[in-house]
């Protein structure tokens, strides 16, 4: 293809995105668009499956059968989200095995929030309420993203995530109506998860190098800082409603902006965890790698069996 032809295709491509057309797997797309989408969708998929670990860790200890069933269903949904997202990324020409390889070697990232430990039952509430709550804010914006398979996966995922968020908030509500010990447990979980939840929106806009390009492709509809502000404005009243205190002494309603002003995020901590040195980065990766390597013989067996079955069928046909 000549340079002019490529330029022409690029122009048509950008025009389609402007018109809000969806880009589909077989459509021509710039290589950078493909790579950026593989990066983001696989990162999202990895977040779902690594995210199964902190909550999965409480399944055996859930305090009641009702909570156990709800938690199992939630973690199962996350596995399901991982599946659709890996499938969406596969439409861009990468295999699931390659994506796992990138995760296991640290080349691909996942949401840093999952590198914080889930220490008490209240953390199941805080994770649902804050982490799924922050994820929804990010993801609702993505339901209108330009890449069709990703946008469609997001529509489905958002429905389930909003259910998870309500479920998490309901855990916190119940704790806040309970004994002093239960209220303390809820407050402690909020204290530990508040700041990491704010960090889920990524670095400040001025430190976010991909924002401009991503906005153009509708891979991002709002900037990190806008989304973070939206989350804070939405969540602070929810905390007040159940008698919990957001652990930020600088948090204050700003009448003029009709928004909350808030304190400085510890960006050193953010970068430390992103670079792999958070409290549970190693445990999470070890768990994934062990499951993958320890399960290799099972996957090999399934392949071998499928081949044998195919062969037998072929022989019968003859």
């Amino acid at each position: 293809m000549s340079e002019e032809q490529i330029k022409n295709l690029e122009e048509q491509f950008e025009a389609r995105i402007l018109r809000d057309d969806k880009i589909e797997p077989k459509d021509w797309m710039p290589e950078k668009y493909r790579q950026t989408h593989i990066r983001q969708i696989s990162q999202h998929a990895h977040s779902e499956i690594v995210g199964m670990l902190p909550e999965g860790n409480w399944i055996t200890r859930a305090p009641s059968l009702r909570r156990k069933v709800a938690l199992l269903a939630k973690v199962q949904d996350e596995g399901g989200h991982g599946l659709y997202l890996y499938s969406a990324a596969e439409t861009l020409g990468i295999s699931r095995d390659e994506m796992f390889e990138q995760l296991h070697t640290g080349k691909a990232k996942y949401s840093s929030i999952f590198n914080y430990p889930a220490l008490t039952w209240a953390d199941m509430g805080a994770i649902g309420w804050l982490v799924d709550g922050a994820a929804i804010i990010n993801q609702v914006a993505l339901c209108g993203t330009s890449y069709g398979p990703y946008a469609r996966a997001m529509v489905r995922i958002c429905k389930e995530e909003s259910f998870h968020q309500r479920q998490g908030y309901e855990i916190m509500l119940k704790l806040s109506q309970g004994t002093q010990e239960q209220r303390d447990m809820a407050q402690d979980a909020l204290n530990r998860f508040w700041w990491p939840a704010l960090m889920m929106f990524g670095p400040k806009d001025e430190d976010s190098p991909h924002t401009a390009q991503s906005m153009k492709w509708k891979l991002k509809r709002k900037t990190n800082d806008d989304l973070r502000q939206q989350f804070i404005d939405q969540t602070v009243p929810q905390a007040e409603l159940i008698g919990l205190t957001v652990p930020d002494p600088d948090l204050k309603w700003n009448e003029e902006r009709q928004s909350y002003d808030f304190g400085e995020i510890d960006w050193d901590e953010f970068w430390q965890v992103v670079k792999g040195h958070g409290p549970c980065n190693k445990e999470r990766m070890d768990a994934r790698v062990n499951a993958w390597e320890g399960g290799a013989w099972v996957r090999d067996a399934a392949m071998a069996y499928a081949d044998k079955k195919q062969e037998r069928k072929a022989k019968q046909a003859i």
């Binding site: 999965g56 199992l72 090999d300």
Partner: protein, 250 residues
């Protein structure tokens, strides 16, 4: 009769509770995303069945005990599950072997329980059997895949079946509660399921190119609350919150 019916329900529910707990341990650690989701799904189904049973048991008790009190606040010797379901997740072959050896029984058992004169138990059986038919298909398919897969998977699957075989005979032992419930037309005569069970199991094992073990020595005791050492650790996790924070609502 009330005491025996209560014990009879516990026998049914405890099997699903303990197996559900074992499957729940695997969540996030499966050999592939699909199997991970499937194992979580089995666990979810089992806990759903368990809730219906304990809610019924709580009603029979007629005091202020709840499904959670019954599930989580008994002592080790008061759990009436068979030894098979409490065996640990040594590897995926053991997980599948345990599931399969239980599913074949569970399916036969529920098929009969649907005919119970106790309408609540019949309804629970009727609802559960749809899920258990899927469990049986899932575990049978995996026994075949692993048995007739690679040399390694064949060896592991055979080892799991051999290791778990000693716990199968107990499935067909009758307790006093069983005998009374059978006489009342409420319970299932498990002794009558034995032959079909071993035939069905052998059918799948043969198709999976596995040997049917010829072991003559079997373990028992679960139905009397005499368990293997594994159960205590499982209960420690299961009961942790209820023990550490008594009398609270969640």
């Amino acid at each position: 009769m009330k005491e025996n019916l209560y014990k009879y329900i516990l026998g049914i529910a405890d099997n699903s509770l303990i197996l559900g707990q074992r499957m729940g341990e695997l969540c996030g650690h499966g050999p592939s995303l699909e199997t991970d989701i499937a194992c979580t799904n089995l666990s979810l189904d089992l806990f759903g069945q368990v809730r219906s049973c304990y809610q019924y048991a709580a009603k029979i008790l007629g005091d202020d005990r709840t499904e959670d009190d019954i599930a989580m606040l008994r002592k080790e010797r008061d759990y009436l599950n068979v030894l098979l379901v409490e065996q640990p997740n040594r590897d995926f072959a053991y997980v599948i072997g345990r599931q399969f050896l239980f599913d074949v029984y569970h399916h036969l058992f529920l098929t009969e329980l649907q005919k119970s004169k106790d309408l609540t138990l019949a309804a629970i059986a009727n609802k559960s059997i749809k899920e258990v038919s899927y469990h049986l298909r899932f575990s049978s398919d995996w026994v075949k895949r692993l048995g007739d897969g690679t040399e390694e998977s064949h060896a592991r699957m055979q080892e799991a079946i051999d290791g778990l075989w000693t716990y199968t005979d107990e499935l067909f032992h009758q307790t006093e509660a069983d005998k009374e419930m059978v006489a009342e037309g409420i319970g299932v005569d498990v002794t009558k399921l034995k032959e079909t069970y071993y035939n069905n199991v052998a059918g799948v094992l043969t198709e999976a190119t596995l040997q049917v073990p010829e072991l003559k020595y079997f373990q028992k005791g679960g139905k009397q609350g005499i368990h293997t050492e594994h159960l205590g650790y499982l209960l420690a996790e299961l009961q942790y919150m209820q023990r550490a924070y008594p009398n609270m609502e969640w």
